[in-house]
């Protein structure tokens, strides 16, 4: 990842220096597509004074592109890298006033929040409320999910609130949708899907604004374009407006795993190629993986891999172990073995914990392994889902609620939660300062006092928390360390944010956290434990894929539903395999200890 002079293969060069027009690079895993993309950006930047827009699907990918180009002068002002949501947020902050937002609205990014809002909307929609009140909690939860799904679908179709009725005959559904929107707006908030939809609305209603952005960019590059959904693609079209052709999309149709948000490789494969008359270039070479790993991947996707070009031999093994404990023990032993050996021809440099990752379909599969790691003193960390901090301690959860209310006093949702948390449901939270005064002296009151005392530009945030940390008086040691961990995490996020801007504000800090832009990307120490989903885009020399028993991977729900979900799981497995650069060890337990007894398992249907 160091920005040294990079040697490109002839095929990669052809793409990097290609004529400036619409290009679709169909790149398979390990073909060096991120490298091609960044070198293309470097080349284009040398030819223009304008900016380049590089759109990604994770902040990490955006950060990586930027990292690789740090040697270019003024890269921060020459290149806009970010997710679609980040780009849209930027546009709305600058030009949202045309849509009537006097101030950037707050973003409700968490599903739990939106579920609660949609619950309120259901209760306020007469035709649903009666039914809703009479069903059990689980069914209520289901109904909320369905309603939220509907809302998201409407938004991803870029339909405005005024037009919803045109697309739905059912008045009640429309009413529910509009109620949800009203609740959101009354709290001066928007949700994630709104970011794209509103930007699309801005670009289509004000063609001059789209023109302004179009002209400000010399080229647009989209990384991992297989994850595009309808709204994002339409947004790009609105931005390009049929005139802008200098767009490069790089993606691998086989790695499409975001289906839950309506994404499809078709937008890149077909729509882009047709609408923009794009050249299609294939990039199949593999520079990344060993022959062993690739051969294994080829078994999952026979059409995909070009093994002939690989240099390193590598290791691929599948092991069946007696149970979860044995599985965990085997992995622990193997890791210790490699760490002791230290060197292998296939691996550059010393083998260290940072080069090793353990993957699983979901995070509960790691329980046994975590215990083993603790017992043997192997250091490890959990790779987090990017996004806002999820506080673990009650005290900092309280902080989170109060913080939201401070920056958005119209936020009724979190006001109610805060009152509930402090068992003051009958109190009035019109004014946070007055409310804080009405409390008895306590740690909780101290936290609220910190929130009330925070300067709008956050200048005293760090200092306030350090003082608070030092005076912390909680008897339970576990709880105390939890609070301290949470505070440190918050301060880490603040540091990342504070370094990124001259113009600090708590409001923008909150939004930046919501978009995952403040997630500290510093290197962690130890073995990486991660679910398949969070590992996207990152590779390790040595990968263990554990819990490969059927109905764990593929997930039992996907097995039950079959169809696209199962295809999805198949893709997930392919992604998991290709996270390994050199050695891949797949393990599965022949039996599992369930709370209700021992159950025998079979090997994953994908490995049979």
């Amino acid at each position: 990842m160091t920005p040294t002079k990079i040697a490109l293969s002839p095929k990669q060069q052809k793409i990097v220096y290609a004529e400036e027009r619409a290009i679709y690079v169909k790149a398979s895993a390990g073909s060096g597509k991120t490298r091609v993309l960044t070198e293309r950006i470097r080349y284009l930047l040398s030819k223009t004074k304008k900016k380049i827009l590089a759109l990604t699907f994770t902040n990490k990918a955006a950060e990586e592109i930027k990292q690789r180009l740090t040697d270019i002068n003024d890269i921060d002002s020459r290149l806009f890298t970010g997710t679609f949501h980040g780009f849209c947020q930027h546009v709305l902050e600058n030009h949202g006033s045309l849509l009537g937002f006097s101030k950037m609205p707050h973003i409700f990014e968490e599903e739990a929040d939106r579920l609660e809002l949609v619950g309120q909307a259901i209760l306020q929609t007469p035709s649903y409320s009666d039914e809703y009140k009479n069903i059990n909690l689980k069914e209520q939860q289901n109904l909320r999910y369905q309603a939220l799904n509907f809302v998201a679908k409407v938004k991803r179709k870029l339909i405005t609130s005024d037009e919803v009725y045109k697309y739905n005959d059912d008045e009640n559904v429309v009413l529910l949708y509009l109620t949800y929107e009203d609740i959101l707006r009354s709290q001066n908030a928007i949700d994630f899907d709104d970011l794209i939809r509103l930007t699309y609305e801005l670009f289509t209603n004000y063609p001059n604004i789209a023109g302004l952005y179009r002209r400000s960019f010399h080229a647009i590059c989209v990384d991992e374009a297989q994850d595009l959904n309808n709204a994002q693609y339409k947004l790009l079209q609105a931005l390009a407006n049929g005139e802008f052709k200098n767009i490069m999309m790089v993606g691998d149709p086989n790695q499409s795993i975001f289906h839950f948000n309506g994404s499809s490789p078709e937008f890149m494969n077909q729509a882009f190629v047709k609408d923009f008359d794009a050249d299609v270039v294939e990039l199949k070479e593999n520079y990344r993986s060993s022959k062993a790993v690739l051969s294994a991947a080829k078994k999952i996707r026979p059409e995909n891999e070009n093994i002939s070009d690989t240099v390193k031999t590598g290791i691929f093994e599948i092991h069946a172990l007696e149970d979860e404990q044995a599985e965990a023990q085997w992995i622990t032993d193997k890791i210790q073995e490699w760490l002791a050996i230290k060197h292998h021809d296939d691996i550059e440099g010393e083998i260290c914990p940072e080069k090793i990752a353990v993957l699983a379909r979901n995070k509960y599969v790691f329980n046994a392994l975590e215990q083993k790691f603790k017992d043997t003193g192997i250091s490890y960390y959990f790779k987090m889902t990017p996004g806002a901090i999820k506080f673990e301690s009650e005290l900092m959860k309280l902080f989170d609620l109060a913080f939201r209310i401070k920056i958005n006093p119209q936020d009724v949702l979190h006001k109610e939660r805060l009152l509930k948390m402090l068992n003051c449901e009958n109190s009035n939270l019109e004014n946070l300062v007055a409310f804080t005064k009405s409390l008895n002296p306590s740690q909780e009151q101290q936290v609220l006092n910190i929130v009330n005392g925070l300067a709008d530009d956050g200048s005293n945030l760090k200092e306030s928390f350090i003082q608070f940390k030092n005076g912390l008086n909680i008897i339970d040691e576990n709880e105390r360390s939890m609070v301290i961990n949470d505070i440190d995490e918050l301060l880490n996020h603040w540091l990342v944010y504070a370094k990124s801007t001259d113009n600090k504000s708590l409001h923008y800090f909150k939004n930046a956290m919501a978009l995952g832009q403040t997630h500290p990307l510093t290197q962690h120490q130890g073995i990486t434990l991660s679910t398949v989903h969070t590992m996207k885009g990152q590779e390790f020399d040595i990968v263990f894929l554990m819990g490969m028993d059927d109905e764990t991977f593929p997930d039992y729900r996907a097995v039950k539903n079959n169809g696209i979900q199962l295809t999805q799981e198949h893709n997930n497995l392919y992604v998991a395999f290709t996270r390994a650069k050199r050695f891949l060890y797949v393990t599965w337990p022949e039996k599992r200890q369930m709370p209700w007894g021992v159950r025998y398992r079979k090997i994953s249907r994908f490995l049979n």
Binding site: H95, G211, L212, R215, N503
Partner: protein
């Protein structure tokens, strides 16, 4: 394609409480002294230029409030094409410079850069905090949800660091080419520091200087003796130097500009600038700035990607210059690249500018800025204002109050009466008496005064059977839009008694003896008697009768003969004499009336009381 600062708003700076000024490519600021013109230019400097001059006294001190603690300056930058027309979008080089972070759109989607600059004084640290913002949109002047424009949200704090691309030049009234030559950081000094010659030219010039030096030394006994004597140094020094050189002319080319002097010569004599008056020196200083900016602009235009648009604030360019030079100045300034804002007290500069470029600052309860709404005028209207108002009465740009009337007698007599009544001359109080030259000519003057916010009074004749009254009222009617405005405006018109003009009014007000004595002074003691004898019964006029001619069907006119008999006849004779000799008669009758010790005619007292009340209004309110 370029840009234009279209609108500037200032709140809380010096005497400017809350003002909006629309700017043109060249804008000429007129108005009385102390009306806020310089403050406005300085405010623009805070937004775009050097802010080091700021002091705590720069914060507005209102009458009804304690000291304001914040200066707010909003500037609206818009795209403009080569012809000065507003464009929909900025050209590429400006878009790249401003970036999407600074470019906003109005509701029609037209690109704008709404820049806000705020200054806060921190009394504890005793320093100023200046911040710049890009507003979300350009607020209405008055009528945002929060009130005035400056109460709208600030938007995003963002620097506007374009001092190279949009350089701001402030040229104050105290400029002097001699100072410029001495100062390294003057525009001239900066240019001189950048003089470059090719190597070949350096050698050639330096060779010529050497030859010149040799000739000069060899032709002078004194110099050659000194040189020979100094050569003895060589023997004392343990060195193999080239010896001593005496150079009456500087030896190295790079030192040339250090001793630069500028000569300005007429046909006969050539004087160094030291010997010229301040006028020439001040003017030269301005012209060197022009050459500096032209140089910068030429350099910028070599690179088509380079954005460059200088802003010049020029304070009283006319200082020390004679009228003919003042007339030329406007054209010289207007042709400088970039946007120019000129404050002036020169009627010649104001007259040279186009009407749409004039902004008049007027201080009543607060400083306001008026402009002539040329878009509401026909070309003929504009010609009228130019011909009748600007070209003949340019000083009224700087009036505090305007009194309009028809004729010459008033123009001569009223200032004399004024001085007696007020004990001060009308000039001292900023009141101008302007004869419009006929009752049909009021409208362009009224429009002018209204648009520039200058208070006015009409002192009108009232003869010709109400025809004149009607004509004046018609002109006034064209000015107002609402009933309240109507009341206010009609209150500004003072008519003489029915069937009177100014001359007749004097006769009827009991000044017959004074008029007689004026004619005696003007001509001779028997002038009037002679005149009556000669003209009595002579034909005076023809009037239309009701009878028509049988053959041509037109009305028949009958001769009216002069009848100077009796008291009435005598008054008529007086009247005829007065109106035929207005120019000489006007000042004379005023003197005589003043010397007679009689009280002034009541209508004139009434006029002066109206003047006093309008002046007091502005005086007490300001």
């Amino acid at each position: 394609m370029d840009i234009l600062i279209k609108t500037v708003r200032v709140a809380g700076f010096r005497g400017l409480q809350n003002i909006e000024v629309e700017l043109e490519e060249t804008t000429v600021l007129t108005g009385m002294n102390n009306s806020g013109k310089t403050s406005f230019l300085k405010a623009l400097q805070i937004a775009l230029g050097n802010r080091q001059f700021l002091s705590p006294d720069d914060f507005y001190i209102g009458k009804h409030q304690s000291q304001n603690n914040k200066i707010i300056i909003d500037t609206l930058i818009v795209p403009k094409d080569q012809n000065g027309k507003i464009n929909e979008a900025f050209s590429e080089k400006w878009e790249i410079l401003f970036t999407t972070d600074r470019i906003r759109a109005d509701q029609l989607g037209t690109s704008i850069v709404p820049l806000r600059t705020t200054v806060i004084f921190d009394p504890i640290k005793a320093n100023f905090k200046t911040q710049q913002f890009i507003l979300q949109s350009w607020p209405k002047f008055n009528g945002t949800a929060n009130g005035f424009w400056y109460e709208s949200g600030e938007g995003k704090s963002l620097a506007f660091p374009f001092f190279d691309e949009i350089p701001f030049f402030y040229i104050d009234a105290q400029r002097d080419i001699l100072e410029d030559i001495k100062l390294k950081n003057s525009y001239l000094g900066k240019m001189l520091a950048k003089i470059e010659y090719s190597d070949l030219a350096v050698k050639e010039i330096e060779d010529q200087i050497k030859a010149l030096n040799d000739t000069a030394v060899n032709s002078s006994d004194v110099l050659s003796t000194i040189k020979t004597t100094l050569k003895e140094l060589d023997t004392a020094m343990d060195s193999s130097s080239d010896g001593v050189d005496i150079t009456p002319f500087t030896k190295k080319l790079r030192d040339l500009s250090k001793g630069l002097s500028i000569y300005y010569s007429d046909q006969e004599n050539s004087f160094s600038m030291e010997y010229h008056g301040m006028g020439t020196r001040s003017w030269s200083s301005l012209l060197t700035l022009k050459s500096f900016i032209t140089l910068l602009s030429v350099n910028a235009s070599k690179n088509s990607d380079a954005a460059f648009f200088p802003i010049l604030a020029i304070e009283e360019p006319e200082a020390h210059l004679h009228p003919n030079a003042q007339k030329k100045l406007y054209g010289q300034i207007a042709s400088i690249p970039g946007q120019k804002i000129i404050s002036t007290h020169s009627p010649y500069i104001a007259a040279a500018a186009e009407l749409r470029q004039i902004r008049n600052f007027y201080k009543s309860d607060m400083v306001n800025c008026g402009k002539i709404a040329t878009e509401q005028l026909t070309n003929e209207d504009i010609r009228k204002i130019n011909r009748q108002v600007i070209n003949t009465r340019g000083e009224i740009f700087f009036s505090k109050l305007l009194v309009f009337f028809e004729g010459e007698t008033e123009e001569q007599a009223l200032p004399i009466f004024f001085e007696i009544h007020f004990g001060k001359t009308s000039v001292e109080l900023g009141v101008d008496f302007v004869g419009v030259g006929g009752h049909g000519n009021y409208l362009p003057f009224l429009r002018f005064a209204e648009w520039l916010n200058i208070p006015w009074i009409i002192f009108s004749d009232n003869d010709q059977k109400g025809k004149i009254k009607k004509s004046v009222e018609n002109a006034v009617n064209k000015l107002y839009q609402s009933d309240s405005e109507k009341d206010q405006l009609t209150n500004n018109v003072l008519f003489l008694e029915d069937e009177s003009d100014f001359e007749k009014y004097l006769i009827d007000s009991g000044f017959v003896a004074e008029i007689e004595s004026s004619f005696e002074k003007l001509h001779s003691s028997d002038y009037l008697a002679e005149h009556i004898k000669k003209k009595d019964g002579a034909k005076k006029d023809r009037i239309e009768t009701a009878k028509t001619c049988n053959s041509c069907k037109q009305n028949i006119y009958e001769d009216v003969l002069r009848d100077y008999k009796g008291d009435e006849g005598f008054k008529m004779a007086l009247y005829d004499c007065m109106t035929s000799q207005k120019a000489q008669f006007g000042p004379l009758i005023a003197e005589v009336i003043v010397n007679s010790g009689k009280p002034l005619p009541t209508k004139i007292i009434e006029l002066f009381e109206k003047i006093a009340s309008l002046l007091n209004n502005t005086e007490t309110r300001s």
